[in-house]
Symmetry: C2
Subunit: 107 residues, 2 copies
């Protein structure tokens, strides 16, 4: 299996984020996510049972943790290891360009 993480699908431009599973193995899975201006709904927090190691590969985003006062502004290359049940939300993704993420969900 091979591919290119930065190659965009032909049917980009919808109103939802795109999720694409690249590898799934016991204990972890690798996923590509493409945001195009989406943000978490007001008041919504991700509260995940599994840990997530995530890196922004292109674009720009703002990630807010409930336990931090200020949001984190993310630029390409920025990675964060998010512990299970650490509540967070996506305040903003750049609407002018695709934001490509690589996420590793693990137990």
């Amino acid at each position: 299996m091979s591919g290119n993480l930065l190659a965009l699908p032909d049917d980009m431009g919808g109103t939802t984020e795109r999720f694409e599973e690249l590898l799934c193995r016991s204990g972890f899975r690798i996923e590509r996510i493409i945001s195009s201006g989406q943000a978490s709904p007001p008041g919504f927090w991700y509260d995940q049972d599994v840990a997530e190691w995530v890196v922004l590969l292109s674009g720009a985003a703002e990630l807010q943790f409930e336990d931090e006062a200020a949001p984190r502004k993310l630029v390409p290359g920025d990675w964060i290891d998010i512990a299970p049940h650490r509540r967070h939300r996506l305040n903003w993704t750049d609407p002018s360009q695709p934001s490509v993420w690589l996420a590793i969900h693990y137990r």
Copy 2:
């Protein structure tokens, strides 16, 4: 834990590749590798006990599999899932710029 995969260490420019472990969990580990013009020695083949999912994030490289006639030219975003014991070597990495890899070694 957080960081930036594209941020280069202050002491770049040595003659060896740099390996940096970012996460190590049961069954897999995440590593950043920075090549700066290195290639595998003539006749050398990687023959790894564990699988490796690897993506080139910046720079350029040429990856050769023993079971393929032609090498694969890799550009940023290109990922490959390499099965255990699939023999491969790095023919070339661009000497004019750092080539940053993200590798996930897994069982």
